[in-house]
Symmetry: C2
Subunit: 374 residues, 2 copies
Amino acid sequence: MYQHNGKTTDKLIAEEAEITNMPSKREHDVLVSTGEQITIAKLCMCLQKMGYDAISYTGWQIPILTNHIYGNARIKEIATDRIKDDLQERKIVVVAGFQGVDEDLNITTLGRGGSDTTAVALAAALQAERCDIYTDVDGIFSADPRVVKNVSKIENISYDEMLELASLGAKVLHNRCVEIGKKYHIPIYVKSTFEEESRGTLVHEEEYMEKLSIRGIAKEDNIVRITLVGKNNKIGQIYRVFKLLADYDINVDIIVQAFGEHMAKDISFTIKEKDLSLTLELLNQHADMFDIQEIKSCTGLSKISIVGVGIGNHPGVAANLFEVLYENNINMHMISTSEIKISVLVNHNVADIAMNAIHNRFIEEIENNSIITR
Amino acid sequence: MYQHNGKTTDKLIAEEAEITNMPSKREHDVLVSTGEQITIAKLCMCLQKMGYDAISYTGWQIPILTNHIYGNARIKEIATDRIKDDLQERKIVVVAGFQGVDEDLNITTLGRGGSDTTAVALAAALQAERCDIYTDVDGIFSADPRVVKNVSKIENISYDEMLELASLGAKVLHNRCVEIGKKYHIPIYVKSTFEEESRGTLVHEEEYMEKLSIRGIAKEDNIVRITLVGKNNKIGQIYRVFKLLADYDINVDIIVQAFGEHMAKDISFTIKEKDLSLTLELLNQHADMFDIQEIKSCTGLSKISIVGVGIGNHPGVAANLFEVLYENNINMHMISTSEIKISVLVNHNVADIAMNAIHNRFIEEIENNSIITR
């Protein structure tokens, strides 16, 4: 299985932009799918030069059958006969990631995270023991090393924890491939391409133990909190607000509703800063329909999340988190909790201080004291 | 139909050379076939931007079924249902040239002249009225404009004449595509991509007329004449000499045999200079077996050919040609004639003088005097 480096594809997209800023989605996929095709041929040549028997396959040669959504296709089925025959003959099989073919033989691409998705989907189709993904980092870390100094590598992590960390900005594995791994029980081993001795991170179904285990701390910048204040202490048909935003591809993350005696009086939610102007425009247009009296927005926020199995069952974690922030004079603008994570919104200018303090309390201190084994 | 510009492919081949100088032929085809795939996608984007409804197809999408000779595949069959449907819907269909797919879904490429070959083969499969090929020159000329000053454009030429000119170095159309055109009666119209008013050259089945019509003068440099002198006035099993050379991919062009009273005493033939050392090595190794007493070679020759329907029936042409050379003090080292051409070997250092003198006599003078209409 092979990890797409993306340089060739970036160049193709730049050349495309010189032609048009509205390329046909079908032709876009015809164009960008060549990047991986070039890579599989070159990789096979390298392997052959080293004396290995290698053979390449594009998406349509396997075939990796997808639906017909150009640029963001979903895998429907992967044929494995040919690969199995090759493996039987001890060949190294190199399959192009990121691409497939629809039922009418049109070339499709899988969109973001498509290369990893192909790899894990292939592993599932072949009922492989494990899928190894070689990437440019040495696995998943307890926090972003550019922000936090003493990060430690996570050696084992469950699919669910990984899904939380991925969506929170860990960016090493895309959610789509982790979801397939979870669904088909394929352990995913993330390792570094560049380090011979890389031990990496194993994403798999861990046995749930009662004990708490904090995996990592993630941060996401450029968050806006929107608060809608209802007329006469009520907001009407609130689900339609979110349906409206979804129709315009605006991603709503945390939603917090404060209940009054009978009715919701106001509701807060977060969006990405890039969606702010469109969101305000839509909300203002529909303010009357939804009984909205006032729209408040607070920009320049960062979301910090701690992720780990057992958080939901250990109320002490939240208290501990709030204490750290209080000790560092950091205000929280919003709190959200789930079974395996707690997220807080803080001002962007203190986010890195918060990250370090939280990481120190939950990862480093605990590691050093061996109170909780990870 | 689209003419391959080759720049992308050249770059891919350079990158390949950095990896290995012995690439697997299968992976080589996987790699270089991406060049045309990139081109068809970009061309469709351009057409769509101009408001046309365009759709691209790779070789395997059509499919253009070939044999399994990687790098030099021959087209076996072209499916046309999908193209016909698209044309019915008034779409512009853009098909990748130079590539196909074998019965096992491996990618193949057609080798030299493959893009033109795809175009004419498609036209044949679609029973098209004509195949237009846009290239970087404005058609076929009566001689190489870099050598001869007053060249004129050929407006009409028969397949056979074109085949002679192509193999003699005109280099605009590859023989393979002309052969397909001849076989399936597809007129090929060669025009310039860059000139709006290009009238080009039409290659088609001309009605044979009794009158002589000289089309063009071609030159090929770096020719070697080899002469084998037989033992006891005989050369044994001469066919085996040529079989031996063919086994080593050495292309023998003109063969002239001088007959003695009962047996061949010696035989001369021409090869390209690049094949000289291998040819001499092979001949020396087998000299005894073939009863060869002496091997002579004469390097630094050029072949000049005049091509035109009716040459074989007009002995005056040869006489005229020899006269021109005699007037210019140019020695001939070998002569070869066919129905539609006469070739002579001359020293390389006087080849351009010969070209100009011949062109002047056979093309310019005749044009000016309108003795023979072309």
